[in-house]
């Protein structure tokens, strides 16, 4: 089922259609018609196409039913029988004297599958893989070639590289941000040489000012793991400063969780801490005097 465009598949479809039309027309001529309405030819073409398609579909089904992938003659025969066609009449019909021979349609620009860039030889299937499985992809998609370039060990070069790399990234990033958003400038006549990303007020300014950034968090974890520090709290730091997912219930739940875990770790005694703020909220009494 293709739609409306001139893809290679469309071209096929049109050529097949044209050939079938020629066939239908020659059969009509053979049957003695001198002319036919286009709609009639179309209808007959459609019928013929359906019929042939059904033969193909059915033959494929029979073939696969017997666990094969290539249809044999008997598959076709069974199909035709099943479709109520008298197979015996077929040889005679094929050899009838008044039959018209249609020349094969000219082969126009044989559709070649556009050759993907191939690199190297595709690997053949190993013996245990049946041939109908897809071929291996091009080797460059899975083969790696380790390089053995001498690592840069000169400290000065390394530091230099790290520094300029970071500076370039920061510069590019901030310039991009400045280009894509609002800016401020120190010089009225020039906004591009020293573009400053515009100051934008926060709704909750203390959050960004106090919480460590994601990068710092990462760093802290790295240095922590390497230096073995007693700072388990920091793992709980929220990385994102979204305020939308902190409903009151969630808030309380997390608070309680924090506290219980805390009491458990700190005091060897696993007693529940008696703190009035951890006690459950009481249900209202039937009628409290105002």
């Amino acid at each position: 089922g293709s739609k409306h465009a001139t893809t290679p598949a469309d071209n096929y479809y049109l050529a097949r259609r044209r050939t079938l039309q020629v066939v239908v027309s020659s059969l009509l001529t053979e049957a003695g018609f001198e002319s036919a309405e286009k709609a009639a030819v179309e209808t007959l073409t459609e019928m013929l196409q359906s019929y042939i398609s059904e033969i193909g579909r059915s033959a494929k089904a029979y073939c696969e039913h017997t666990a094969r992938t290539q249809p044999t003659l008997s598959d076709i025969v069974v199909t035709l029988v099943e479709m109520g066609f008298n197979v015996e009449t077929l040889p005679a019909y094929a050899k009838r004297s008044q039959r018209m021979v249609i020349t094969a349609p000219p082969v126009t620009n044989q559709p070649v599958t556009p050759k993907a860039l191939t690199a190297g030889q595709n690997k053949p299937h190993p013996s245990h893989i049946p041939g109908h499985f897809p071929e291996f992809p091009d080797p460059h998609t899975y083969i790696k070639t380790p390089t053995y370039r001498e690592p840069v060990s000169d400290y000065q070069v390394l530091r230099e590289k790290a520094a300029s790399q970071r500076r370039d990234v920061e510069r590019a990033l901030t310039r991009f941000m400045a280009k894509t958003g609002e800016t401020q400038s120190l010089f009225k006549d020039d906004v591009s040489t020293f573009p400053l990303i515009a100051a934008r007020p926060f709704t909750v300014p203390y959050l960004t000012a106090l919480l460590p950034s994601e990068l710092e968090m990462q760093q802290m974890e790295e240095t922590d793991s390497s230096e073995q520090d007693d700072q388990p709290d920091t793992e709980n730091l929220p990385l994102h400063m979204s305020t939308d997912d902190s409903g009151p219930e969630k808030e309380n739940a997390s608070v309680l969780q924090q506290n219980t875990s805390l009491s458990g770790s700190r005091n060897g005694e696993d007693n529940v801490i008696d703190n009035p703020y951890l006690r459950p909220v009481k249900k209202p009494k039937i009628r409290r005097k105002k």
């Binding site: 007020p201 106090l210 700072q231």
Partner: protein, 891 residues
């Protein structure tokens, strides 16, 4: 039974009634959207005289709906004279007139004079009841809309419920300002017990004074009511409240201590408060007294009025004190705030004051014990440095503005009796003071406590505090006997009596000098060595005629470091004697090479070639223990200051020597400073100070200076790679002393100037390289303060632009060095938008640097950038920096 002295009243309530059992405050509706509060109070009053027919209470900005006395409707008048101080007075538009009118208005509602804004008529039906001195219950319904003070609402403008937005409200204010949010007797001397109830959104927490008895849902289950009970008699002025969607942390070391912070900050809260138990232990130990309340709460809120506010059993802190383990610089500052708050729990909250003129005792004691904590926590060097700093501050203020009087005694209230006529405000009430004056007042109060300690010893001092606390503690457990409760109020006379009982010493002269009169002492000292008599002739003059000074008469310690050792001498400063002969112990020139003994017993080798061959004197110090509130200007030769810097072990002496050496730009001074800078045993603040002095000296010596720019080779040796000295090592701030030095040296170096009065190119390139190669990836700590100081260094390197006939500043004529600086500032400021630094320290430094560039004519002077950063919604430090820049345009 009360101790009385002339002019110092014992405690007599100014009101013809007293509180007995307790006061109820119930706030049953808080609307964050409209910023309003609805509630009632119920005061239980006990008449002390017959024919009591009017009750005066304090109330500001509250709308009073209804007043009932013993369930009978009562008439009331509300009048707040401070709302219109000058009554359309058009003729006398001067500060003096305003000041007097304002003091009169504050007096008219002063609870300590029995006054108040709200006057309630006792219904005539109850007069007989009153005459029998029976209890009255006054019930007042009130509401509060958009309060301008006393209660502060923080409501972020965003989507979601109030709890999701992190909206919160808290009480705040200066001195007694509880009347701003509920009617009360807003005095520190009127104590009663309290029942406090707050009905809030179910997602919120209400934190208040005393014990949380229970939390109960309302019938619709959407709200809950927090019931607090405060059984320790407490002044209304020490009542506080904070409501918000707080995260709750029970202190892991002390379960009765609970910490609260705004959503998402819990990890910071955990780290920040993890130290608090040590402060508790310290105070309890030195005071040999348990923390007086049964619980303690800390609440960290946004838009705090002050960084630390102490109230009965709770303290309200600025949320900006919270920090993670990666932050170095904020840690000691925050710990100081915690320790201050806790000291005030004992003296200020639990023990309150009898009257305004006794305030100095509370501030003095809490400041003094906080100082002891500082000494224990940060060491003697830090403590002495701090004391010197505080002393310098109070001296500078008094010399500039006039005296600060700790214990004012007011006569008939006439103008001529005003003990502070040099000031443009009255010191009769806390509310008429200038903020700066009050800060200096607190500073002086704790310094005077230290002077008392010097006089009677720390042991006796702590015994006095313990005595005050135990008396108060006994009194607080007495129920319904409010006359006993006055033991919980401290007065100047009671405190002095206690000192004399405990120590047996007469400190009256000291009190007269520093408490009953204002001013500081200004000494000028110089000396000559009389070789024949082997005597040091010391001349000490005083200036006691300038404003803010006073004459000092009494003992004065002088320490003389001689070749044979260090010797203390106590001089008697008297009216007319300026010259003091001090016999020397050593002969002028020593024969044999011998080590020189110092004050602390240490014996050191010194190169004595610099000293005067005829004199055995190495250096002289006037009042080395800071036993007088004074400023000393002392003259001694440059080599003596150099010896003092190198060999005197007291950090204050070292700092004084550094300050003095600024005037002696010689190679010897340079060497002394460089040696100190390199000495790792030397206190880091002294080394930091030496950096700046070295820069000044280098500039004065610019024409003769040899070698690389000052400090550069030292910095390279300390912080740069061995193999490539132009590249700084990757950051490792484990050693805090090195860290502070690493931060400071570039800032000081940038102040260097060459013969053209420009920052040497070499120095600028050096700083730019520090920025370029800065690498914090392997560091355990954040480098935000370090990077901020590198920007400060860039700003320090800027010198005025050479302007040709006032041309307009454009990019084309931009100085190439400035271009490099601007490049860095632009990148830093932009990176702050993507990866903001802690407290936006880098933005702050960038803004300051931009203002410097503008001021020096490199960049067009345009305040619009600062105006945008000054807007609401930026972090407070950024706004302050931006506003300071904007204000700078007026200078």
């Amino acid at each position: 039974r009360m101790n009385r002295k002339k002019g110092d009243k014992g405690f007599e309530s100014p009101r013809p009634y007293k509180f007995t059992t307790h006061q109820v405050v119930c706030i049953n509706n808080i609307n964050f959207q409209r910023k309003s509060v609805v509630g009632y109070v119920e005061l239980t009053i006990f008449p002390t005289v017959a024919n009591l027919n009017r009750i005066k209470l304090n109330s500001k900005q509250c709308r009073i709906y209804r007043v009932r006395v013993n369930d009978l409707e009562a008439a009331f008048i509300y009048n707040d004279p401070t709302l219109e101080v000058c009554h359309h007075e058009s003729k006398q538009r001067n500060l003096n007139y305003f000041s007097n009118a304002y003091a009169a208005a504050v007096s008219a509602v002063d609870p300590d004079a029995g006054n108040g804004e709200l006057c309630i008529k006792v219904p005539s039906e109850l007069w007989k009841h009153v005459d029998e001195l029976k209890v009255l219950k006054v019930h007042i319904n009130f509401s509060l809309d958009q309060p301008k003070g006393g209660l502060h609402f923080v409501v972020p403008n965003m989507e979601g419920s109030m709890a999701e937005r992190g909206a919160h409200v808290f009480s705040c204010g200066y001195q007694n300002s509880t009347r701003f949010w509920f009617p009360c007797v807003d005095s520190y001397s009127e104590l009663c017990t309290w029942k406090l109830e707050y009905t809030v959104d179910a997602a919120m927490v209400a934190v208040s004074n005393g014990d949380l008895v229970e939390t109960v849902y309302t019938h619709d289950m959407r709200k809950k009511t927090f019931h607090y009970m405060l059984t320790i008699p407490t002044a209304a002025s020490n009542i506080s409240l904070a409501i918000g969607p707080f995260e709750i942390l029970v202190d892991p070391y002390m379960h009765e201590v609970t910490h609260f912070c705004l959503p998402q900050l819990l990890p910071l809260l955990k780290h920040t408060t993890s130290y608090l138990h040590e402060v508790f232990e310290f105070y309890e130990e030195i005071l040999t007294c348990r923390y007086p309340y049964s619980c303690f709460k800390t609440v960290f809120i946004d838009e705090a009025y002050v960084e630390v506010a102490a109230y009965a059993s709770m303290s309200i802190f600025s949320t900006n004190l919270l920090h993670s383990a990666m932050i170095i610089d904020e840690t000691p500052l925050t710990r100081r705030c915690l320790a201050q708050a806790l000291a005030q729990q004992f003296f200020g909250c639990f023990i309150s004051r009898m009257s305004w003129s006794d305030e100095w005792v509370l501030k003095g004691i809490s400041g003094y014990i906080y100082g002891l904590w500082m000494k224990k926590t940060f060491g003697v060097n830090e403590y002495r440095h701090w004391i010197k700093q505080e002393l310098d501050q109070i001296v500078a203020y008094e010399l500039k503005t006039g005296g600060v009087l700790l214990h004012p005694i007011f006569g008939g209230g006439k103008e001529k009796d005003n003990p502070a006529s040099h000031l443009h405000f009255s010191i009769k009430h806390p509310h008429t003071l200038s903020w700066e004056y009050y800060t200096m007042f607190q500073c002086k109060a704790h310094l005077v406590m230290r002077l008392i300690e010097n006089r009677i010893s720390m042991e006796f001092m702590l015994q006095v505090f313990n005595k005050l606390l135990s008396l108060a503690s006994t009194a607080s457990s007495q129920k319904f006997q409010s006359h006993m409760w006055s033991q919980m109020l401290v007065s100047t006379s009671g405190f002095l009596k206690s000192i004399s009982n405990v120590s047996g010493k007469d400190i009256q002269p000291l009190i007269k000098q520093w408490v009953d009169q204002s001013g500081v002492v200004k000494f000028y000292g110089s000396f000559a060595f009389n070789r024949k008599r082997n005597v040091l002739e010391l001349e000490i003059k005083q200036d006691y005629t300038s404003p803010g000074t006073q004459k000092y008469v009494g003992p004065l310690k002088v320490t003389v470091q001689e070749l044979d050792g260090s010797f203390n001498h106590t001089l008697q400063i008297e009216e007319n004697s300026l010259k003091h002969d001090i016999p020397c112990h050593s002969k002028s020139r020593r024969n044999k090479k011998k080590k020189i003994p110092l004050m602390n017993g240490e014996e050191v080798d010194m190169d004595l070639s610099a000293m005067d061959a005829d004199s055995p004197l190495l250096w002289i110090r006037i009042d080395p223990d800071m036993s007088v509130l004074r400023k000393v200007e002392f003259e001694q030769s440059d080599f003596m200051w150099q010896y003092q810097l190198r060999y005197e072990r007291d950090v204050v002496a070292q700092e004084e020597a550094i300050l003095a050496l600024e005037k002696f730009p010689t190679p010897a001074s340079r060497l002394a400073l460089t040696d100190i800078l390199e000495q790792e045993q030397c206190f880091y603040r002294v080394r930091m100070m030496a950096c700046f002095c070295l820069a000044k000296i280098a500039n004065s010596m610019v024409s003769t200076w040899t070698g690389p720019p000052a400090m550069k080779s030292l910095f390279t040796r300390m912080f740069c790679c061995k193999t490539c000295p132009n590249i700084v090592k990757t950051n490792n701030f484990m050693n805090f002393q090195s860290y502070f030095l690493q931060k400071t040296m570039p800032v000081a170096m940038a102040l260097l100037r060459d013969v053209h009065n420009l920052c040497p190119k070499e120095v600028l390139m050096f700083i730019l390289d520090l920025i370029k190669y800065n690498d914090n990836r392997k560091n355990k700590f954040s480098d935000n303060y370090y990077r901020a100081e590198l920007i400060d260094a860039l700003a320090n390197s800027v010198t005025p632009a050479v302007s040709v006939n006032n041309e307009v500043r454009t990019l084309d004529n931009l100085n190439p060095d400035v271009r490099l600086i601007l490049e860095e500032i632009t990148r830093f400021l932009n990176m702050e938008k993507l990866l903001p630094s802690y407290r936006h320290t880098i933005t702050v430094s960038c803004l300051k640097a931009i203002r410097v560039l503008q001021k020096n004519g490199h960049v067009p002077s345009d305040p619009s950038l600062f105006k945008s950063y000054a807007e609401y919604g930026h972090f407070i430090d950024v706004r302050i920096a931006a506003l300071e820049a904007v204000v700078d345009y007026t200078k």
